[in-house]
């Protein structure tokens, strides 16, 4: 399998803990302190798993029970035409354990007309810390639906970074994050849209006292994109939350809609938001061009910075 075309992935030497190609699970690899199963097997094995997810077809079950020193890596690829993937993933990180997870989902070439549907449940037990880098790379003919739920128990911390620089023509993303007391979340969603119709919805429920969260959305709308992003933070306790949604529109044939929403029913909470949609100013473009950068180079430089 050629891993060169799957985008921002760990080094080629990194062995996936979960590798699925089309609808074949090619690799399940645990390690000391980490149980890795197919979610189907985990569903059969554990009663408690059945309480969290419905019966799965595919997807990973990763249960981190002890501290590990290497990042976990899951990789889901579409290699053949007209494949439909339905995944249910479950990651559970036990008390006080810190773990990095790099997840890559991709079609390996264009015109495969694949469909990737993934539901995820990520559970951080008290004091756990998860750095989750979720990289997607698709072709124009694919369609992608992802729906993730995160539960952050007391004093846990989640950094979730979803990056999609090559989105499909049809993209739907739903994230719901619920925090218990003193937990923290940093969520960043990056989409570089071109010929993309995307609906992004994220909800951050700051339910636990002294929990906090920052949500950053960065969207680029290149030619023929229609991107709708709705972000909500709700506060029921004394919490802090900030929503930062920014769109960069590069074409008059594209649309970006940003809908930030704040909801609070606690007078000691502090929720803020900022939202903007703009273009690259001609002054800035010509300034960079006067340094010898061609227009495309100048745009790419700014877009890369914007999406960082």
């Amino acid at each position: 399998m050629d891993m060169k075309n799957v985008g921002n992935v760990p080094p080629a030497s990194a062995k996936p803990n979960y590798l699925q190609v089309d609808n074949d699970i090619k690799l399940l690899s645990g390690m000391k302190g980490v149980e890795v199963l197919s979610s189907r097997d985990a569903y059969e094995k554990y009663d408690w798993v059945r309480k969290i997810i419905s019966k799965p077809e595919y997807g990973y079950f990763i249960w981190v029970k002890e501290q590990i020193n290497t990042p976990l890596f899951s990789c889901v690829l579409i290699e053949n035409r007209k494949i439909t993937q339905n995944l249910k993933n479950l990651l559970v990180v036990e008390n006080g354990i810190k773990v990095d997870l790099n997840a890559t989902c991709s079609s390996v070439k264009s015109s495969l007309e694949g469909s990737h549907n993934a539901k995820g449940n990520i559970i951080l037990k008290p004091g756990a810390e998860v750095n989750y880098n979720h990289n997607h790379k698709w072709s124009m003919t694919d369609s992608v639906n992802i729906n993730y739920n995160f539960l952050l128990m007391e004093s846990s911390r989640l950094n979730y970074y979803y990056k999609n620089l090559y989105p499909p023509s049809d993209l739907n993303i739903k994230n719901e994050i619920t925090t218990e007391k003193k937990s923290k979340v940093d969520l960043k969603i990056i989409i570089d849209g071109r010929d993309t119709k995307a609906n992004i919805s994220d909800v951050l429920n700051l339910n636990g006292r002294d929990s906090s969260g920052i949500v950053k959305i960065r969207i680029v709308g290149r030619e023929n994109s229609d991107i709708n992003a709705q972000s909500k933070i709700s506060a029921v306790e004394a919490v802090k939350g900030h929503l930062d949604c920014q769109g960069l529109l590069l074409s008059n044939k594209s649309e970006i809609k940003l809908v930030p929403e704040l909801f609070s029913k606690n007078k000691n909470s502090m929720l803020t938001h900022e939202a903007s949609i703009g273009k690259i100013s001609q002054d800035v473009l010509e300034y960079l061009e006067s340094r010898g950068l061609a227009e495309k180079q100048a745009i790419d430089l700014i877009v890369n910075g914007f999406l960082r």
Binding site: Y287, G292, L301
Partner: protein, 240 residues
């Protein structure tokens, strides 16, 4: 090296340059003086090909090639560079990111630049031109200039907002850099102090979008200092 032949420029429907003639030889340093709104910065941006300014008549010739129809980056590739008076803020990139990209294209060595400006490390990591002080803007512009290694540089009021100590320091650094690298230059200013450090070959006065006078910088500056630019308007040697 650079010649402007009867250049007429519009900004929208407004005439902003009215038949500019200017010739700058290789290795020379020229000064362009003029009151506010006389068209100095417009001339600089016209030479660089900024889209706001349309050349409706005339030719810009750089190293024997007509460039008035080239895009800004194409002119920059030929060796033209503008040091901005007030560069725009670019909040999505750092100065260092721009320098890295420039260096890849020009094989320039930033170590040399760090020797000239030893305290730039903080500036490089900051968002480009965002909340830069006047002095920091100048330093940033000069670092970029040294990375690009152009053949011809226009300095748009490099002396504005600088105190006399900083002016002296920057002028000397610039003069040495231009001399060592055989770079031709045009300095736009309305202050005379910088000329003492640069000792230019020629000074020009721009009035109402036209070169009103050209000559030895000491004579030109002496007249401007004593009588103001109004004198240039009435000067019998005025080029009309």
């Amino acid at each position: 090296m650079l010649e402007l032949k009867n250049i007429w420029v519009n900004a929208g429907n407004q005439k902003v340059l009215n038949g500019i003639n200017l010739k700058i030889g290789k290795g020379e340093t020229h000064i362009l003086l003029g009151p506010n709104a006389s068209g100095k910065s417009t001339l600089a941006k016209t030479i660089m090909g900024f889209s706001q300014f349309k050349v409706v008549k005339g030719k810009i010739i750089f190293e024997s090639k007509e460039i008035q129809k080239l895009k800004t980056w194409e002119r920059a590739k030929l060796g033209l560079f503008l040091v901005f008076q007030q560069p725009p803020s670019v909040k999505d990139i750092t100065l260092n990111e721009l320098l890295e990209l420039i260096s890849k294209q020009t094989n320039s060595n930033n170590k040399k630049i760090e020797k000239i400006f030893p305290n730039i490390s903080g500036l490089e990591k900051r968002k480009l031109n965002v909340s830069f002080s006047g002095g920091e803007q100048k330093v940033s512009e000069l670092i970029q200039l040294m990375s690009v290694k152009p053949k011809f540089v226009i300095f748009d009021e490099i002396d504005s907002g600088l105190d006399i100590v900083m002016l002296k320091k920057i002028s000397r650094a610039v003069r040495n850099y231009l001399t060592e690298n055989h770079i031709t230059s045009l300095f736009i200013t309305h202050r005379g102090d910088i000329m003492k450090y640069l000792n230019p070959d020629t000074a020009h006065v721009l009035l109402d979008g036209k070169i009103a006078c050209s000559g030895d910088w000491k004579n030109v500056w002496k007249t401007v200092k004593k009588y103001g630019y109004e004198k240039c308007r009435k000067c019998p040697t005025r080029i009309s």
